[in-house]
Amino acid sequence: MTDLVFRLPDVGEGLAEAEIVEWLVKVGDQVRADQPVVTVETAKAQVDLPAPADGVVRSLEAAAADVVNVGSPLFVLDTGATAAAGEPAPDATGTADPTPSRPAAGVPGGRNGRRRLLAAPRTRRLALELGIDLTELTGTGPHGRVTPDDVRSAAETGPPAPEPDHPTYAAPAAQPGESEVDVRPLRGLRRQIARSMTAAWTVPQITEFREVDATELLRAHRDLRSTVGDQARLTLLPLLVRTVIAALRRHPMVNATIDMAAEQWTVHHRHHLGIATATQHGLIVPVLQDAHRLSIVGLAREIVRLGEAARTRSLSVEETTGGTFTISNFGSYGTWLGTPLVNAPQVAIAGFGRVRDAVLPVAGAPAVRPVLPIAVSADHRLIDGDQLGGFVNTLAQLVSSPLLLLGESD
């Protein structure tokens, strides 16, 4: 027999490649010279390529939709064969050594997508160790290549790894559909939240509530907003942050963290304020680093930026750690008053509810005033009731008279 390898000719002028549109024959077919065998499309035209001689098609070296280089084999024609004969299927039993069978290379994602996953072995191992499914990542390298950094950042924001001893051998799949309840694993951010809330609950805490006349605060807010203008979207929150920092300055031990394992606590001279932020993923607490150094505008911008980053899960590790005190602005979603939970290892948290009008005694007469509910919880291991009361008093005073902030040193 004589095999004739038909290579892709340059059917245009200086074209390098062509895409296979359709095979007009199949392996084993008898073809005559000049019979069209394959339709290809170049950048210029769609053409049929004919058989160079009589023969039997022994193999097709490319498939429909493949892009083939000029000069690459397209098909093999057995020009010595006269009768059509299909390739006999190799007998698996005792025909020949089964090895080296071509190993089926693992192409993650190959089954689902049509893209090759590009990741070096080191990256793949890192993904395994961190429990990251590479097929769900978009690589930042050339051609979407996944880099170790891609994996690490996915690990920081993505679902944590399953337990190391989780068996990877086949386990019977759960039967879906028949249950009346929807049982879901506690995973990812939700699991982290569950864990940190559980940790928070182990802290013996006390909460003090206060309703404060917010007339002056709202006025200051209004005035400031007109001053700031387009520089930033100024909500009430930057003002409250300022107020809290001022109160913390007067009560330094509230700006602290506790370490029961080491049986010590740390008073922080810098103020890194966590802002509890509701996202569609769940509660995230980005941290305003060195909030005491930021201007009102700076605070406003930073709060917006962090809130956006939280919602897109693009916060860096530094932006979610190291907080010394937390503010929960639960009023922003309508809650009037709630009990904030201390964000351990911090020792206190301030919650601000929704401002609403209430009747207050003003100079001995009932008056309708905007009222801001404040709830501050503290770790009772470190902070006694009177200390908490002192802090809340200061905070309430500053909220009701924001002018006093002018007297605070920076």
Partner: protein, 469 residues
């Protein structure tokens, strides 16, 4: 011990001291495990089939045969004088030295790592216990925490041809021949049969290869096998395809080919129709492990059959190749030691030391298509390579398979001289997710076979230099 099964505590038990087993033992020791390695042949078994009676001796024989043959072929290229005659007895001594040095090195590593090596036949008796029957002395009971099964494989015999080690040989016997037979028939045209047939032919044996299928190397792409087929014909090797060995009778192998019955004169008959995993006499039922089809142990990506039991190498699915076992060994040792590990290569290179050599890694074009990938293919004949011409082996080609839109390499397939060495670059490229452009832009030394990959990559990009395409 007069009575009772007084078990010894074993932390990590590794069964089989082949490339998989000894590598798992060493990796386990690195991870701080207390490792016990059991092999049928004890310290003498270290290295397994590969080092002692398989790959390594076989490559030594192929090297010798090739050297002799090329010397003869070089008479027209600048050498004169009679070609040296082969002396297999001397070869066997030479081979023993090589094998001793290699296995001795491994034994030293094991000793250095504090791995305890026990000789004897092991059977599992309980999910956490095995008994080892040494060649002498009472049985020892080992109660283990974790186990790696790395017992390898053995040649499959043909019922029609009773293996006697004198006339009817398996591959191990064939590599131990101390004289070149005048005639030999090889049953099975897989890589072992082709390698042995080629080597014997080059040493002067008149070789017939008998294959039941329709061509040689049936598990490889036909196009890869084609240059080898041609070369075998040049070497005078008779390849009978669609032929079944029936019996050995009166100095000849009786072969049925279609309706015809042939007598193939053969001093020796070498049966190389495949290998079978050594999983049948291990008492795996007691271990709570059931082998799958063909005796293979089903494993997960971490090579665990079940918690605390790993299997690697020839007893698991995939090519029965030492380097696969070797790679799996580390995975198994790590997985059993509580680390995250998965056997997740993009490609396992496979090499046939035929003439020309075949080496392949990653996906063939049709496999890639089956995976749903759009592919580009570039194939450059070896004739375009200067170095190949100087070697005098212009047969073969290099083929790259890449993803159409990104150019990421999916498969590298080489037929030609030193393909076995070349394939490491292809493997690295695939594992690193390199593209054809990466390969084309990487400077390769000239004149080498290696630059052929660069050339193939350039061709894929439409800018070949040395080949017209």
């Amino acid at each position: 011990m007069v009575v009772g099964e007084i078990a010894e505590a074993v932390d990590l038990l590794v069964v089989g001291a082949g490339p998989g087993g000894y590598a798992a033992a060493l990796r386990g020791a690195q991870l701080g495990r207390d490792v016990t390695l059991v092999d049928r042949d004890g310290e003498d078994g270290v290295g397994g089939v590969c080092l002692r009676v398989g790959c390594v001796p076989s490559k030594a024989l192929i090297e010798l045969a090739d050297l002799r043959h090329r010397t003869a072929a070089a008479t027209g290229a600048g050498l004169t004088g009679a070609a040296p005659a082969p002396d297999l007895a001397a070869f066997q001594r030479h081979r023993a030295v090589i094998v001793d040095r290699l296995t001795g090195g491994v034994r030293g590593l094991l000793r250095g790592a504090g791995v305890r090596v026990i000789g004897g036949t092991l059977r599992f008796t309980r999910p956490d216990q095995a008994v080892v029957e040494p060649t002498s002395g009472p049985p020892r009971f080992l109660e283990f925490r974790d186990v790696v099964i790395a017992t390898g494989s053995r040649p499959v015999p043909l019922p029609a041809l009773h293996h006697d080690g004198v006339v009817v040989l398996d591959s191990t016997d064939a590599l131990a021949l101390d004289a070149v037979p005048d005639t030999a028939a090889i049953v099975g045209a897989g890589y072992i049969g082709v390698e042995l047939g080629t080597a014997l032919a080059k040493l002067g044996t008149s070789v017939t290869i008998v294959e039941q299928g329709d061509r040689i190397l049936p598990t490889l792409d036909a196009s890869l096998a084609r240059p080898v087929s041609r070369r075998l014909a040049e070497l005078g090797v008779d390849v009978l395809v669609g032929a079944t060995a029936q019996a050995y009778d009166c100095g000849a192998l009786v072969v049925d080919q279609g309706a015809e019955r042939l007598d193939v004169k053969a001093e020796k008959v070498i049966v190389a129709v495949g290998r079978r995993p050594n999983t049948d006499d291990l008492g795996l039922d007691r271990l709570g492990v059931t082998p799958g089809p063909g005796g293979l142990l089903p494993v997960g990506p971490d090579r665990l059959v079940r918690p605390r039991v790993a299997a690697i190498g020839d007893v698991t699915a995939g090519p029965a190749l030492a380097h696969k076992a070797y790679a799996e060994a580390g995975i198994a040792a790590e997985a059993l030691s509580g680390r995250r590990a998965a056997f997740d290569p993009y490609g396992i290179p496979a090499v046939v030391f035929s003439d020309p050599e075949i080496a392949t890694v990653g996906l063939a074009a049709d496999q890639a298509r089956a995976e749903g990938l759009h592919v580009k293919i570039s194939s450059i004949p070896m004739a375009a390579n200067g170095r190949a011409a100087t070697i005098g082996s212009p047969a073969g080609y290099a083929q790259l398979v890449a993803e159409a839109d990104t150019g990421a390499l999916l498969g590298v397939h080489v037929v030609g001289p030193h393909a076995s060495e070349l394939i490491a670059e292809g493997t690295l490229a695939i594992e690193l997710g390199a593209t054809a452009e990466d390969l084309a832009e990487t400077i390769h030394p000239h004149p080498t076979i290696a630059e052929h990959l660069e050339e193939a990559a350039r061709a894929m990009l439409g800018r070949p230099i040395n080949s017209a395409g």
